[in-house]
Symmetry: C2
Subunit: 348 residues, 2 copies
């Protein structure tokens, strides 16, 4: 489904590694005062002053984490940055720099990498982070992207996974399950396309969920909102593997239990209708779907008034004593234990 | 040539991603006071105080950068860390933390990854750096390692590539060409082994150069030595692609020329005899061989007395006006222009 808009193809071996990285990064501007030296030396140099440094890294592998048959390269570049920035925001920190390394087979022409870097550039501009380094090399097969994100935070504002206390409220941003249902729609269209390459899919009714899958937005705005509301989460994590798995991480690392209320889980109407169409339970999708890149955090009850009524934030439960375990209170009022459905990339 | 000492094999899919990374990193200790939080949250948290942060990243791909038929996994883990630390030392900085991400196919059992991490652990202990994060995922084929190294330096001590001035002395550490000649020996033995699997190679005469290839040591000691000698290099780079390519980087980024003296290039006797055996010119090997991970730097002439006679340091030339270009003065006294033989991983 990727259109070849530009028939021009330049083989990567025509450029050396140095030329390639120079070419791909020539339009990137440095905008953060903390970046003293970006690309072009043995290492980048940063001046992060007396703030704490926050650092996270992720690998994205073709055929495991993304499928180029429906993921345009520009979107992939953008999403790869989002996945990493989301980890920085999940510490309640401000993202400031990234490094991007790629391993790529010769089947990709230069123009394909330009598309990828256009998406990366858009992300760096929109989220005000500087690209400060990376590595570009060849691979035997496919494309692999490794990104490291760096951020800063004041010591007393950092939200670890381990700070939740019993009676803290459990809060989630945005809505859940969209990215997973978007993937279902894209997979279905891919299967249809294989059978009939002339089929013209009408993705219009699915715009929201397809965008959630192809162009997720890391919640930088939430970190800013919480600062403005003068709320410091007692614990925070981003939702990459699904709500259930993330709640279990918070419970384990904070040594608390949790009561999650099924009827409070925020779902977009598009997600609900897609779940009906695909005959999947929407709660299951929210619990185990993953890739929403929303933030999940806990706050002290005294902060409830500060967040009450904010359309970006939904209280979905509260933390309990560790001995009570992590549970979901269903719509019918029964309690069931939450189980990890975290994604295992080694399973076939 | 890798012996299977332990017939026990555990499939990676038996563990999830979380279990795998927990298992592989359980023996790693945090030893730097600047590491506030290592593995286990959305991001690591560092307290680098008022020092400048130095950061570098590298990708190593099976079949491109390493060949597991003669590179034991433990050595590979060690070398992957060295490659990155070398970039930090090339800034005249102290390395403090690393992240390690791997993409690995299911053909590797858990025990293979344990070997890899044993090498990584040995490197972190020997060089006093903390493993603070990473990502572990599956790949379609082979093994890929992405490492990011973090270090700290005082502002006035950082050695960029761009600070060399005409008349500065050009200094190299250790000796050159060993890693390349070690690779030639290993490639030859691999070819022999393919023809006759019962052949017992005698690598004893080649111990030094094979070790240079399989177990390079990043020059942390040089950064410490320079501090002790009270010498701050005006420019510095590490030798990963060969002396010629690195000199050209220094010349280009400092806007200077260079006269390199062929007869000053430090060569180990083992390298010279291996070059004779393989009928390769030893100067060419030093200029273009690569992977020595020695440091190449420039100093002001007034600092010459401080480094004079140090067995770790060899003055191999001096910088000139940019208009004169980068040249080598041969043993016969003629001048030839240096050309980049930098390695292009995209060429087949």
């Amino acid at each position: 489904m990727i259109e070849d808009k530009d028939p021009k193809k330049t083989a990567l071996q025509e450029l050396g590694e140095f030329q390639l990285i120079k070419h791909l990064t020539k339009d990137f501007a440095i905008t953060n005062a903390s970046t003293l030296k970006g690309i072009g030396d043995d290492a980048a140099v940063l001046d992060l002053k007396d703030k704490k440094t926050v650092l996270s890294t992720d690998l994205l592998v073709e055929g495991i984490h993304f499928d180029l048959s429906y993921m345009p390269l520009k979107h992939l570049g953008y999403k790869a940055v989002m996945v990493n920035l989301s980890d920085i925001y999940a510490m309640n920190a401000v993202a400031t720099q990234i490094t991007v390394s790629i391993a790529v087979s010769n089947r990709f022409p230069l123009e394909a990498l330009e598309e990828l870097y256009a998406g990366i550039e858009l992300a760096t501009k929109s989220f005000n982070v500087d690209l400060i380094g990376g590595d570009t090399t060849s691979s035997k097969t496919g494309l692999l992207i490794s990104i490291t994100a760096i951020g800063v935070a004041n010591d007393n504002e950092i939200a670890y996974r381990s700070g939740a206390k019993p009676h803290d409220l459990l809060v989630v941003t945005g809505d859940l399950g969209g990215a997973y249902m978007g993937l279902q729609v894209l997979e279905r269209e891919k299967a249809v396309f294989k059978v009939n390459p002339n089929s013209q899919p009408d993705l219009e009714p699915y715009t929201y969920i397809v965008e959630r899958q192809l162009k997720p937005e890391a919640r930088k705005d939430i970190v800013e909102l919480l600062k403005q509301l003068e709320v410091t989460p007692t614990a925070m994590i981003d939702i990459s593997d699904g709500l259930s798995s993330e709640i279990l991480h918070l419970c384990e690392q904070s040594n608390v239990g949790c009561d999650l209320y099924e009827d409070k889980i925020p779902l977009d109407p598009t997600v609900i209708s897609a779940c009906e169409e695909f005959s999947i339970d929407s709660t299951l999708v929210a619990l185990s779907g993953g890739e929403d890149y929303e933030l999940l955090f806990t706050i002290d009850q005294k902060d409830f008034d500060k967040i009450k009524g904010n359309p970006n934030l939904t209280v979905i439960g509260h933390m309990t004593d560790a001995s009570l375990g992590a549970n979901m209170v269903t719509r019918s009022g029964s309690k069931i234990g939450l189980t990890a459905q975290g994604w295992n990339s080694f399973k076939e």
